[in-house]
């Protein structure tokens, strides 16, 4: 049973890790980083390490997300994407800024 839970969590973690590299929008990449921290926290719980799980939850999901989100604004990376956000090769620059015209 624990194996299957771990399998689902590892799949979520690796998919989110690949998304961090391939998403064009940096806002979404930071959200995917938070998902990686979340999956790691559950894995630490499964590995019977509540202290490490709590640290990862507080630092990896909370504090690190806050620092990166603050950095997004200060680095001018918060522009929203246009649509086709998954690219084959890691995107580098800023995407078009008119994505939220229909919001």
């Amino acid at each position: 049973m624990l194996t299957w839970i771990a399998l689902v969590i590892v799949v979520v973690m690796l998919v989110a890790a690949v998304l961090v590299l391939t998403l064009r929008s940096f806002v979404a990449a930071v959200a995917a980083t938070a998902v990686v921290g979340l999956a790691l926290s559950v894995l630490y719980v499964l590995l019977q390490a509540p202290d490490v799980a709590m640290t990862e939850a507080a630092v990896g999901a909370g504090l690190s997300g806050v620092i990166l989100a603050l950095a997004l604004r200060r680095l001018g990376l918060w522009q929203l994407d246009d649509g086709d956000a998954v690219v084959l090769k890691p995107a580098s620059g800023r995407a078009g800024a008119g994505g939220d015209a229909d919001a």
């Binding site: 894995l43 490490v52 640290t55 090769k89 580098s92």
Partner: protein, 163 residues
């Protein structure tokens, strides 16, 4: 055949995280994405360390919970990883501060663009033309520097006069 168990699945996850993070560090051109990849590789290493302390059928290393006499997992890797996670977030904050500074100075975080601008700035300060790429087509490649003996001879007395 590798058996499918909690340990092997976690091991695969840790290795995958390290490899994806390392790959991102090499392939990505954007400094912020490299920071994200670095954080992921670090997390994978932490998971690997915690995994080394895990024992089958053992419970969390806190006395007084669970059945009496049950084995406890190895607490030492957990302590080391606790330290590593907290230091990792300190490093991340410092890296973000440096990135803010770089962005303020050069207006970009793309590695190629950043290198071009920095080389342009250095070249402007040195008073020479900005160098081109070594991988450019044949006609646009920078020529190897030729020592200019005339310039050396002319500049030597100037330095003497200044001293």
């Amino acid at each position: 055949m590798i058996p499918l168990s909690l340990e092997t699945v976690s091991y695969a996850g840790a290795i995958g995280l390290v490899v994806i993070g390392g790959l991102g560090l090499v392939i990505c051109n954007h400094l912020f994405r490299m920071l994200l990849a670095l954080a992921m590789a670090e997390s994978g290493a932490n998971l690997l360390l915690v995994l080394t302390g895990f024992r089958d059928g053992a419970i969390a290393p806190i006395i007084g919970y669970g059945p009496a006499g049950a084995p406890l997992v190895d607490p030492l890797p957990q302590v080391l990883v606790l330290t590593a996670i907290v230091i990792g977030v300190g490093v991340q904050a410092l890296a973000v501060a440096v990135l803010v500074r770089v962005y303020r100075s050069y207006g970009t975080l793309d590695m190629r663009e950043l290198r071009r601008r920095m080389e342009g700035e250095i070249a402007a300060a040195a008073g020479i033309a900005a160098p081109g790429s070594a991988q450019a087509p044949l006609g646009q490649r920078p020529l190897p520097p030729v020592p200019d003996y005339e310039l050396v001879r002319r500049s030597a007395p100037v330095r003497e006069r200044g001293a």
